[in-house]
Amino acid sequence: MSQNPLVRLLRFLFFAVIVRAVILVALGLTVRHRERLPKDGPAVLAGNHNSNLDALAIMALMPPRLLPKLRPVAAMDYFLTGGFRSWFATNIIGIIPVKRGSGKEGGNPLQLAEEALDRGEILVIFPEGTRGEPETLQEFKKGIGHLAHARPNVPVVPVFMHGLGKTLPRGSLLLVPFNVIVSVGAPLYGTSSYSEFVSKLQRAIADLAAQEKLPVWE
């Protein structure tokens, strides 16, 4: 993320004006258990993934004073394709890039994320790894388990979201407004068993989803 004060101001204006106007006014969030959101970093917000708006919605939910600390973890191959897209993702959205699949090559794909937590930042992460079919929960990837284990004192807050997959699903450029439900779960902490943590987190988000009465969308 750029240290240039002008770019930082642009980032603040982008979120304070455009993102808030779109997410909070044009769409509208119904937030359940807002009090469970972290008051400060380091923390991880782990949500289900349906739409490119997901990260923006979670970021709009947090108070503006925490904006400099908010960093969505995002796939390098999707966002860092060069040119304006890379600049925007890095400096305005402030993503932390992850090289998908690089764990299998022996590297630590989450090293930048761990460093961000050490700086007291708040990560926004989507353990499904991809948006996939809108409004359906997919199997979580294991990376979040490794991250939580590497930083066992950092709270991982489960966040269930519904509505953005209808508003702007994968493959569509048409934004059709729907109300968005955001339900925040109680924080979880990393354990030595990665897969156990991951399934616990997945269950927590599925439980939040089960408490909502959601309309059919087919």
Binding site: R32, L174, V176, P177, N179, P215, V216
Partner: protein, 315 residues
């Protein structure tokens, strides 16, 4: 007889009256909390806070100028349609169609703003009613077609057509209401409808015994309904002669129309919520629920009052 901001003096007095009621309600909540320190009265306090916001936004928009008022009312319509479309089952194929449904809002409120009654009254029930099913048919998906057409048509009528009557009343009212203008008529409609909701609630809490609609809205009682409507009639007869072209007797009749229509709008939306299995239509307004929970009575009261007064008092 104009007061500050070029507003009719009676409108200024009426607004002052609304704020006096609001201050009174706030004081009552404070006294309740002070006398029963153990009880939190969270919902009551949330509701009163939300009333401050809603009345603040409404009076500011409506009293500022007519364009701001129409845009404000169109925005309420947008929130209501969005909430409705988010609650009901929809089809993925219809995403584009639904975007057009949103576009119907500025167009409908534009007809109201230019006081083109003929177009205003047919745009949704004729043109949109014909357009959307054909649009959906052209998209080619027949599975769930009838349900999609039915829910969208009804939703547009409830959230766009009915609520846009408030905008048309505001714009067209000036020429029939020299003492308080369109603003006076709109205040009479909205304030009495909301007041009627509260009055029915309070009478129901005090005396409620016999349920009116046990399967739809079990909290509604005959005592609440009759007490509420009677209170609304009394207040209408008192304020009508100052805000509308009606004398006290006509005002009382208008109060009856508002009270009963408001009740019908309320239970109609309750039936929808029951069908969908939700308690509130949304979480926009703390203590009240969603926007539809707040404007449900207006969906019936607005067209009922507008066509009542148009029939008897418009040239």
């Amino acid at each position: 007889m104009t007061g500050p901001l070029g507003l009719p003096a009676n409108v200024v007095y009426a607004t002052a009256g609304i704020y006096a009621l609001l201050v009174l309600a706030t004081l009552i909540v404070l006294v309740l909390r002070w006398r029963n320190p153990g009880v939190r009265y969270q919902e009551l306090a949330d509701r009163t806070d939300s009333w401050w916001w809603m009345i603040g936004a409404f009076t500011l928009a409506v009293l500022l100028n007519q364009t701001v008022a129409v845009v404000f009312l169109a925005f309420i319509s947008y929130l209501a349609l969005k909430e409705y479309l988010s609650l009901i089952p929809t089809r993925r194929i219809d995403r584009g169609v639904l975007l057009f449904a949103y576009l119907a809002i500025p167009i409908q409120f534009y007809w109201a703003a230019i006081d083109w009654y003929g177009m205003f009254i047919v745009f949704v029930p004729v043109w949109m009613f014909l357009f959307f099913p054909a649009f959906m048919a052209l998209r080619g998906e027949t599975q769930g077609f009838l349900r999609a057409v039915g829910t969208l048509s009804w939703g547009l009528m409830m959230t766009v057509f009915t609520l846009s009557h408030m905008a048309w009343l505001l714009v067209s009212g000036d020429k029939v209401n020299p003492i308080a203008g369109g603003v006076g008529l709109l205040l009479f409609l909205v304030v009495l409808t909301q007041f009627n909701d509260v009055a029915q609630y309070i009478w129901g809490k005090l005396l409620g015994r016999h349920k009116v609609t046990p399967t739809v809205s079990p909290k509604k009682t005959w005592e609440g309904l009759i007490g509420g409507v009677a209170t609304t009639i009394a207040v209408a007869a008192l304020i009508g002669p100052y805000l509308t072209p009606m004398d006290w007797l006509w005002s009382a009749l208008a109060g009856t129309v508002l009270g009963i229509a408001g009740f019908l709008g309320d239970i109609t939306l309750s039936a929808v919520k029951r069908d969908l299995g939700v308690k509130d239509t949304g979480g926009l307004i703390p203590g009240h629920g969603g926007i539809l929970d707040r404007v449900d009575s207006l969906t019936y009261a607005a067209p009922a009052f507008v066509h009542f007064i148009r029939y008897f008092f418009y040239p």
